[in-house]
């Protein structure tokens, strides 16, 4: 039995390490491509490594959820990991359509960060009183929403980089390797448009669920407030774009601000998860 567990853990760790390596290699290739025009082939290879990383990553999630008997859409442990896989998947599907290959330069490190972060947060089984039929729906829509927002964020950052170079009239260097302003602005807007309804459902189900379990701790409240702020910011970005022509730079800043709040929600989850585990860890160390 012990041997079987060891083999399973070894397999999970192996997949984790392989995923990290693939993402790291993709990051390195993107950096090489953006840093120097002579590494044009690195720019073609990097998205393929993102794809390899995403496949390994998905394998890691499936295998570890089977080994540890944890549902992938429950608890913060997998949530961040799943977000990054979904972000990679959407990027890989959309990169050609939106001409945003270079956005992978942000997606790959983002995926790597989320993967590593998920490792830092130990697996937590949601307390029995928190179990609800609405929870999987809440987590699933939020994960997909996060994936789309992270892509919108990546497009927004790339847009600002490109826009700054154009305003400052610095065209040598990475200017010619970045996607066009229009392509970035369009991609950012569409990712936001797709993510926003999911976020709305996530907020509604989250509110309903919180009401159902009568959650009221400080972190629950902080999370809810940050969640509403995220929704308001994204709603403002989309409305102002439609009504007042807030495109380009302003929309990019709005998207970055919205995504920052969304990440803060995850951090609050993480803090909550870590503090919930602290007594368990203390007890284990005393044993």
């Amino acid at each position: 039995m012990q041997i079987q567990a060891d083999v399973s853990n070894f397999f999970v760790d192996g997949l984790f390490a392989a995923t990290v390596m693939a993402y790291l290699a993709a990051c390195a290739l993107f950096v090489a491509f953006l840093g120097n025009e002579r590494f044009a082939s690195a720019g073609r290879l990097a998205p393929r490594l993102v794809a390899l990383g995403a496949v390994l990553h998905a394998g890691h999630i499936v295998v570890s959820s089977l080994v540890w008997h944890v549902c992938p859409v429950e608890g913060i442990h997998f949530a961040m990991s799943v977000v990054s896989v979904l972000a990679c998947a959407v990027y890989l599907v959309m990169r050609r359509r939106y001409h945003i290959d270079v956005v992978g330069a942000f997606v790959a490190p983002l995926a790597l960060t989320f993967l590593l972060a998920s490792r830092l947060v130990a697996a937590t089984e949601p307390a029995q009183r928190y179990r609800s039929t609405i929870l999987p729906v809440h987590v699933t829509v939020n994960l997909l929403g996060y994936a789309l927002f992270s892509l919108a964020f990546a497009a927004a950052v790339t847009y600002l980089l490109q826009e700054r170079r154009l305003k400052n009239k610095q065209l040598l260097g990475i200017f010619r390797r970045l996607p066009s302003l229009d392509a970035l602005d369009r991609a950012e807007h569409r990712f936001l448009l797709a993510g926003f309804p999911l976020l709305t459902v996530g907020i509604l189900t989250g509110t309903y669920w919180a009401h159902e379990v009568e959650a009221g701790s400080a972190t629950d409240i902080a999370r809810a407030v940050l969640g509403y702020a995220t929704w308001v910011l994204f709603a403002a970005v989309l409305s102002l774009r439609a009504a007042a022509g807030w495109r380009g730079r302003r929309a990019a800043y709005g998207t970055i601000a919205g995504f920052t709040f969304a990440v803060l929600v995850l951090i609050v989850y993480w803090i909550k998860s870590a503090s919930a585990l602290a007594p368990v860890a203390l007890a284990a160390s005393l044993r």
Partner: protein
């Protein structure tokens, strides 16, 4: 020995160059005339807007001057300038390693008017194909040109010699692409209908969905619009046109700003923030500079565009230093190969001498004391002699090749000639294959020094 004779943008004005330029249809005839000269063993003719050059391998390596004169004579004759005495100052000649270096530099675009421009490599390839088709290339010059392609590829991939745009129109097109991707769904508005507007329309308007021409004189605007497949609009409609356009090329002769900050701000409101790009190539400027400060609006004037060109050129010149190092390295590799080639005829003679002596002795013995041997035994003995020849000559051949690749190749060749009493006919000190070694040589690639030598080992 390789020689280069020609004229380029550095040595001759276009009025002179154009007299020597050769079109593709008459190229085979010119190549045939060059090849028919006894002084020339291999030839290739390169004719572009900026250069007319003949690359050749001299039949007598020790007398490259004869080859140079022969090339010049054919070129002048073809251009119909007689002896061309008056045009001599426009010609330049390179011989030996300097000629090879020149060919490498030309292919790598280090000798181009616009440093690092990519077209020259294609033009050299076309010239190479024409010479190959005409059968005027052999192992030596053919190998040199192949090496030039390698140099060009290395320079392009290992340096950033081709980075940045180096003409105002290409900077403008690059900028438009950097903002809009492609212009298929976009509208270009030409403000003014002069020559500059027409030139801009040619470079920018190619991929655009619509081109509109807005000029104070409607008739003149309509004439330009007609010639470029666009639409002319009234000058008064400028405000509305700014709402519709994506790229605006301003080139009017107006002494005041035609496009003001207020006008653009109003247009941007109606555009709902859609990006607008101004290329202001007019002097005095047509677009108020502060327009660039408006969100999603970009203004590049003629100085900005020229600044981009200057920066790109500066960057290319910095890269050229690295490219020259590549050229020097590849040149030394080629020279090493060429020197190795210089010993090839000696090796052939040495082998022939050894083989003939051994075979003659064998034949004599087989006709005498070993007359009784069967056919099988005789074949076995012959095989033995072949093997003995190979083994006996292996070490001298290797040493000779090494010496040939180094500086003391000629000494080694003379020593072998003396030791084995080899026939002392013309030996090529700089190393070129014989005429009969041409076949198949031009298509040869790679760096092995064995091709064309015809040496079983």
């Amino acid at each position: 020995m390789i020689v280069v004779v020609g004229l380029s943008h550095k040595s001759a004005p276009v009025e002179v160059r154009e007299r020597f330029a050769t079109s593709a249809d008459v190229l085979p005839a010119v190549l045939a005339r060059l090849a028919s000269r006894p002084e020339l063993k291999e030839v290739m003719f390169l004719s572009t807007c900026n250069r007319v050059e003949v690359f050749a391998a001299a039949s007598a390596p020790e007398r490259p001057d004869g080859a140079v004169r022969a090339v010049r004579a054919v070129m002048c004759d073809h251009a119909g300038v007689g002896e061309g005495e008056a045009l001599l100052p426009y010609f330049y000649e390179r011989t030996g390693p300097e000629a090879t270096r020149h060919i490498f530099r030309v292919a790598a675009s280090l000798d181009s008017m616009v440093l690092g421009e990519p077209q020259i490599l294609g033009q050299v390839k076309e010239a190479f194909d024409a010479a190959t088709a005409a059968g005027t290339l052999g192992n030596y010059l053919g190998r040199c040109i192949h090496r030039a392609f390698t140099v060009a590829k290395r320079v392009r991939t290992e340096t950033q010699i081709g980075a940045g745009s180096v003409s105002i129109s290409s900077v403008a097109v690059d900028l438009a692409r950097g903002i809009f991707g492609d212009l298929q769904d976009h509208t270009v508005l030409l403000l003014g209908a002069g020559e500059m507007a027409e030139a801009a329309a040619k470079s920018l308007g190619k991929g655009a969905r619509h081109i509109r021409v807005c000029n104070r004189s409607f008739d003149r605007g309509a004439a330009l619009a007609g010639s470029i497949g666009g639409d002319a609009v009234q000058w008064d409609a400028l405000g509305d046109e700014l709402v519709r356009a994506d790229v605006v090329v301003a080139s009017t002769a107006s002494p005041n700003y035609v496009v003001t900050r207020d006008l653009v701000k109003r247009a941007m409101k109606q555009r709902k923030g859609k990006t607008l790009f101004f290329i202001d190539i007019a002097v005095p400027r047509n677009v108020e500079p502060s327009v660039h400060e408006i969100d999603n609006v970009y203004v590049y004037n003629v100085d900005d565009l020229e600044q981009q060109v200057a920066e790109a050129m500066k960057s290319r010149h910095a890269e050229a230093e690295q490219a020259e190092k590549i050229v020097t390295h590849e040149l030394s590799e080629f020279e090493k190969w060429a020197r190795g080639q210089s010993v090839a005829p000696t090796i052939v003679k040495l082998r022939a001498r050894t083989h003939s002596v051994l075979m003659a002795e064998l034949e004599r013995t087989l006709g005498g004391r070993l007359r009784h041997l069967t056919e099988g035994d005789r074949a076995a003995l012959q095989q033995m002699m072949e093997s003995a020849t190979n083994k006996l000559l292996h070490a001298p051949t290797t040493h000779l090749r090494d010496a040939g690749a180094g500086a003391d190749g000629l000494d080694a060749v003379q020593a072998v000639h003396r030791l084995f009493d080899l026939p002392d006919d013309a030996e090529a000190p700089a190393g070129e294959p014989k005429r009969e070694e041409r076949e198949g040589g031009a298509g040869g690639s790679g760096d092995d020094g064995e091709r064309g030598k015809g040496l079983p080992h």
